[in-house]
Structure formats: C-alpha cells, structure tokens
Symmetry: C2
Subunit: 458 residues, 2 copies
C-alpha cells in the first residue's frame, strides 16, 4: 500500500510527534468492544486543532489514504476499525470544553471530550448534558453514531441535542453546520446529515450542544412484573398517556439473576422496570403516582420510589451494573448486542418474538432495553471456541432486525450500522441506499473517509 | 422551450385531465404571498398517488423540464414560483389523512392536507399536531420549508415532528426516509436532509408525523411592558429557567395600535407578551405564576391569565389578528417579512438594533415574534408605487440578517431561503454552500427540481 505509506511519510514530515506508528499505539486503535477481529491502522494521528485535521485530510486525500476517526473506541458495530488500513485520527488531544454558554443553555466542545468529563465541568452551572449511552463515550463519537441511551425518552437523542458542528470534509475543507440559534430554515440540514454519518462523510472537530437545566427534583422507581409483557404494557400505557418519564428501562429476569449474583442483592428474579422522573417536586410525585397506578393495574408488585439521592443511586445500581453482571455471569462468552427499535405499539410483540427465538436456539440472551423509546437490546452470548454459535447469534440478530422492519421499526435504534449491519441497511431502506451512496460519492469521491462502513462503495 | 412543451405533451398523453394548461389555473399557481412578481408555470399537474408523481417526474426528467411542487402557496420567499417555467405539481388531490395511529402517537398523511384539516380529523383521538406557522399551510409545504411558528418553543419545529416520509427523487425513484420508530441510527439521515430542502432534492408524497396528547389544561396569559426590551428580558429569563411555555409571543406597540383599530379593542398601546401554558392543571398554574413573578420584576403590568376556553380565545385574539390588523392599517403598502433567529441571550440586542434601523429609514416596521425561540419578524411595509422603498426594505432586511449572523444566529428561523435569501445563505454558511451544491448536483444532476431556489446551480 504505497499510497498509505506515502501519506504517512508526508504526515510524519508535517506533524512530527503528532503521528505515531508504534505497534502498541496502533494495536490500541485496532480494538473494538464486540466480536469483530482486531484491525489496527498503519498509523495514528493525534490532531490538536481543526486546522491540523484539515491539513492532514488534505495529505491523505492527495495520496488516497483511508482515514478512520476514533473517540474512545466504545462503539458496538466495528465503526472505528481500520478495515482498509490507513491512518486513525484519535481525538484524545482535542478533548476540551471550549466555552460554556449558560445563558443560551448551550456549550461548545471538542469532539474528544467524554460525556462524564463534560458533565463534571458543567456541574457548577446548574445545567447538564443528558444523553447517556451507558459507556463513557466521547461526544464526537456519540454524534457520529447518533447515540442515545437511557434518557432519550425524555431529552431526545444526539439528533435532537446538537445545534451546530465544525466538520472537515474529504477535500480538507472546513465547514460549519447549524448555528447557535435554536432553529433555522437556512438551506440543507447538513447538521443532521453529518450526525450519524459515522465518519464517512466528514470528520467532526467541534460541536455546539444543547444543555438542559438540572431538574429541581429527581425521583427514581423500580417495580417487578410477573412477565416481560406486563412490564412492556406498562411502558406502552405510560408513553401513550404522555407521562414525561426521564428514563424507562426494562431488565429481564435472567439479567436480574445475574445482577443478584454480581451485586449480592436479593431482588425478585423477575422482569423489572427501572424509572426516573424529572421535574418540580409536585410534578415528580404526580408522575410516579400515575406510573404506579398503571403498573399495579397490570400486575406490577413491590413498586418502590424515592427522591433521596442515595436511595436513588441504590435503586438504579442494578440497572447500571446489568451489562457487567451479565458479562461476569458468562465470562468465557463474547457478547453481540442487538439494537432494534419499533413503534411503541409493537414493542410487546417484538420482544415476545425475540424471546421465543432466543429460547429455541439455546444461547443465553438476556434483555435490557430503553423500552420507553421502543428500543431494546438482546445480548447474545456465544462461545468463541465454537464459531457456529456466533453464526447462530448473527442469524437470531438478523431475524430480529427483519421482524422489526415488518413492524414498522428500524434495525438500529442507537448503535449504528458500522460494519455489522450493512446488509440489513439494504433491507430497511432499499432504493434509499442508492441515494445515500450518491451523497457519499459526491462528498467523498475517493472513498477515503472511514471506508467499509455504512454503505458499500465500489 | 421545446423541452418543456415536449414534457407537457407527454404528460397530457399519459395523464389526461390530471394536467391543466388553462390560463387561470396557471395564473393561480404563479402567485405568492409577498413582493415577488407573479411567475406562472406552463402547466399544472394534479397527481393522485406517489406513483403518479414518480411517473410524471420520469417524463419531466426525460425532457429536462422544471418541476415546482405546490401546497397552497402560503410560503414567504417565493418558493413555489416557476422561475424557469415548467410544470407545477399541485397536491390538492393528495390531501387525505391516510391512517391515524393513536397507539403510536403518530399519523400518516398525504402532503396536500392542511394543518387545520389534520387537527379537525384528529380531534376525537385526544391527540393533536402542534406546529402552527400562522397560515393554514399544507403539511407537505411545511415540511419542505422546515416551518415552525408559535408552538415551536414547546413542541419543536417540523424538523422534530416528522418521523418518516415517502419522497420521489429527480430520477422518478420512490424512496422512504425514516421509519415509524421514535429513533434510529440506520444510515444517513435522509429524512432531515429532505425536510427543509424546499422541493429542490425530492418531492414529498407522504409523511408520518408525531402527534402529541391534547394537554389536560391550557392556560393563556397576556402582559403589557413599558418597553420591548423588558418584554424580551422576561422571555429570556423564562427560557433560561426552563419554564416549558407552549407559546411565548411578542407584539410591539405599533402592532397593538393596529390591533386596537382593527378589532375595536382598547389594549394599552405598549409592547405585549402573549403566552400559553400546557400541562396538568397544577403545572399550568405553577408555570403562569412563575412567569407572572418574572414579568412583574421586570416592570410588566396588567398580567392577566385564564384557563377558560372562551377567555383564552379572547386573550389570544389580538395576537391571531396581528397580521391582518397591520395589513389593514397600511392597505396600500406591500409587506416583506424578515425572519432572523438568534441565540436567546442575544435577542434583546438584535431587536433593539432592528428597531433603530427601521426608525432611521421612515418605513413602517411593526414587530411580532416567536421570542421564546429567539425568532421574530419585522414586517417592512413599502409603497409599491415607490420602488426605492422596496430597496430600502430589502437593505434593512439584509442588515438584520448580517447582524443576526454576527450574534451567532441564522438568516431565517422558519420561512426558508427560496428566491429571497440565496445571497444571504452564502453569508451564513460560506464553504458549506459548496457542500450543499455538491449534494444538489448528485441528487438532481439536471437541476429540474424547483430550480432557482436555495442555491445557484450553473
């Protein structure tokens, strides 16, 4: 790959220590959180400014060298793997909060800042950035995958919480998308086109985010149910009634069993809903009472709720540790997370079919889900020493995705396409994928930006 | 224009009565609501299905004939004028509510349905579609211009309230954008790329909209202020405190004078805020009390509020008649509405500068605005018999737009670019306009979809 080596030579000459070809650094940027094989890049670039990124992209463009943007590597569909080699752009040195604009409820950040660091820096302002995908991901990575998580039911996803971005395009041109105004009808919505484009159309180098006021009161609640169906039906009723829940999470019976073992707790090993309510004290009380009534009518039992911080933390700790508890329960197995999202009215049917399919194939498949959005994850655990099990897991995941499409939903609520769902994207969008390809070819004619992700380009 | 006539001949042959070349029909589709000269198309096509649209687009594409989509013609920047001739596609025969999905809080509609008809059809369900741009526009037109209006401060704009669309592209291909699921990370966000693209990238033939539950209680309030600045500062504080106002509208002193004359009322001829609160009874009361406290601290007087429907209607009637009252006050003048939107912290400064500029040039320029979003309109009234006055108005509008950009805002909060703001789009986005042009050329290489709008294509 002379073109890649030529690009690296020129980058090295221009940027010196900002470029690394050390094996350990390359290896670190070739890992992923899921079942894909490691694929290290040929070099890792650590830019410090948008101008660094632009200059480096121009060099890569000149030589036709692939570029892979990297946040902290928590994505779940192999988004940041260097499948065609090339140079990974790591944003660890572009990780600052640039400017907090409390009067406009917004903040300017660099892409490498993580959501936890951002919220630490915001704490004194009384504002917070609500999007919580679980992992302590970078804001740039969350934007690139259109991430969401537990609070999206109330605050929306990254799609709804980015006002503007600075983006370096495939020719090294630096553009702005969006403005600091709350709304705009000025031209094509490049901001939303770039959000969720997984580094394949441009490289995000700055973001202006919406912030929200820390609620006056926060209430937390949990409730057990005799079946997943009843927990889900409770969720559906709450959403249909317009109760503005801030979080509404399902944890199934197997997951609760794992949690009890991991955290030495004694929750009933039944499906649970974990909920959070944000608002004034009166509103939080009102919301929790409404939900409790619905839950009880549907057979929920042991509804507990509190607004005290330490008790809230305790109530929610089971949900927060679920992923690790599941991993610890099957330490030898590797996880593949499904991620379908369906219209709320179809949620009970979708989950029931998934449970049946998983049960029929003998793989462990605990379920947790952002059910308030119609989004849930089956963590399919396969034995890496039995390659046929990974295929069984992939087949189950594909059937869940196809079923979600039949129900009017999507193959991915929040994880994105990456390498793992390129074929399924065709199932979801059919001829729309040709439109996506036309845009990709127009904006990145050499296919140097994160090649091999989202859509196949010849 | 042989190519246009060739297309019309073939359309006539294929569609018979669905195509009209009658002068009166053409003239009706060559009008606009503002200062642009009439520009009728060569023919008007009345499709009945997405397939009709697709077949007609294929014919137009074959002959290179321009296509202009038409809702009801209420846009304010000349969006639906046939500047290059060609065929206007009117959606008056695609104006049905297709399917109400109350359990998913959504509805499928054809693009020609107006928002008032939609809400009439929804009434029995307890749900409503909140976006209210003032005019009884079509949903397709509102999507195409990324419209918003008085309720966007609470419910968002069209950008936030469209789940999915069916769109006919420039080659006649029918694609889907989005799904019925509440969120998705599947591929490029074509849904948002098409929303606000003003008919230049594709023709919307179906939409799936988000609906909202009719609030349990609605409160309305008005309050007079000794200055626009104090009214605006009240707004800024309410937004910064996170009070979830459903409407927050400024009407300035001149507009109040027009309203008194038009409606035989005796409001103080001072700047007013008109507000609406949605929620439970307790929440509505709480919100109005918080706003009243802020307003009083800032010198507001005569704060009135009510939750009774007939009193609400009466309180808000002044705001609803403002446009007509202003037009009636200067019946000989033509209006040009500015539409900037700025970060909320910059709103007082933006409006003060606009008032000063208007006052210095002697044109009437009453102000109304969706100030909760940082968006406001100066209605610049010029004498059509004195062409220099129109130029004065255009110059004032351009200065307001440039000032909004300096303040971090946008040249258009909700009206769009159309023909009127193409040069200003360059000021707002600079090199981003090249990215927009690349997308336009990729998706509509012949430039047949609403040519002469948003961006200049050679």
């Amino acid at each position: 790959m002379a073109k890649i080596q030529d690009a690296i030579s020129e980058l090295e000459h221009t940027f010196g220590d900002k470029l690394s070809q050390t094996q350990s650094i390359r290896d670190l940027h070739g890992q992923n959180e899921t079942y894909f094989a490691a694929m290290p890049p040929d070099a890792v670039f650590f830019p410090e400014t948008s101008e660094d990124v632009a200059a480096a992209v121009k060099i890569c463009a000149k030589h036709g060298c692939p570029i892979v943007p990297w946040g902290v590597g928590t994505s779940l569909e192999g988004h940041a793997l260097a499948v065609k080699g090339g140079v990974t752009f790591s944003f660890q040195n572009m990780a600052s909060v640039i400017e907090i604009l409390p009067q406009d409820l917004s903040v300017r950040v660099q892409p490498g800042v993580t959501r936890e660091v951002l919220n630490q820096e915001l704490r004194a302002t009384g504002l917070f950035f609500p999007i919580d995908p679980g992992a302590n991901a970078t804001i740039g990575g969350m934007a690139a995958t259109r991430a969401s998580g537990t609070t999206a039911v109330r605050y929306g996803t990254m799609r709804e919480n980015i006002l503007a971005m600075t983006v370096v395009m495939a020719d090294g041109c630096i553009i702005k998308t969006g403005t600091r105004a709350k709304k705009s009808s000025a031209g094509y919505d490049l901001n939303h086109l770039l959000i969720g484009s997984e580094g394949t159309l441009g490289i995000i180098t700055e973001l202006t985010l919406k912030l929200h006021g820390q609620p006056e009161a926060i209430g937390a609640a949990i409730c057990a149910f005799p079946s997943v169906e009843r927990a889900v039906n409770t969720t559906i009723q709450c959403i249909q009634m317009g109760i503005p829940v801030a979080r509404m999470e399902l944890v199934d019976a197997i997951s609760m069993k794992c949690i009890n073992a991991y955290s030495k707790t004694d929750y009933p090993e039944e499906p649970h809903l974990f909920m959070e309510f944000h608002g004034t004290k009166a509103s939080v009380t009102e919301q929790s009472q409404m939900v409790e009534t619905i839950a009880q009518e549907l057979g929920g039992n042991g509804f507990q709720w509190t607004t005290k911080p330490e008790e809230r933390t305790q109530l929610w700790s089971a949900r927060h540790t679920a992923y690790w508890a599941i991993k610890a329960h099957w330490p030898e197995r590797q996880g593949m997370s499904t991620d379908v999202c369906v219209p709320i009215s179809q949620l009970a049917e979708a989950i029931a079919a998934a449970q049946k399919d998983v049960a029929a194939h003998g793989l462990p498949g605990p379920i947790v889900g952002h059910v308030g959005d119609g989004n849930y994850h089956v963590l399919l655990l396969s034995d890496p020493n039995q390659p046929s099990e990974l295929q069984v897991a992939k087949d189950i995941a594909a059937r869940m995705a196809e079923h979600a499409l039949q129900l009017g939903g999507t193959i991915t609520g929040e994880h994105g396409i990456g390498m793992g769902k390129m074929a399924l994207l065709e199932s979801e969008y059919g001829p729309s994928v040709q439109t996506m390809s036309a845009i990709k070819r127009a904006l990145d004619p050499q296919n140097i930006l994160n090649p091999g992700k989202i859509i196949r380009i010849n």
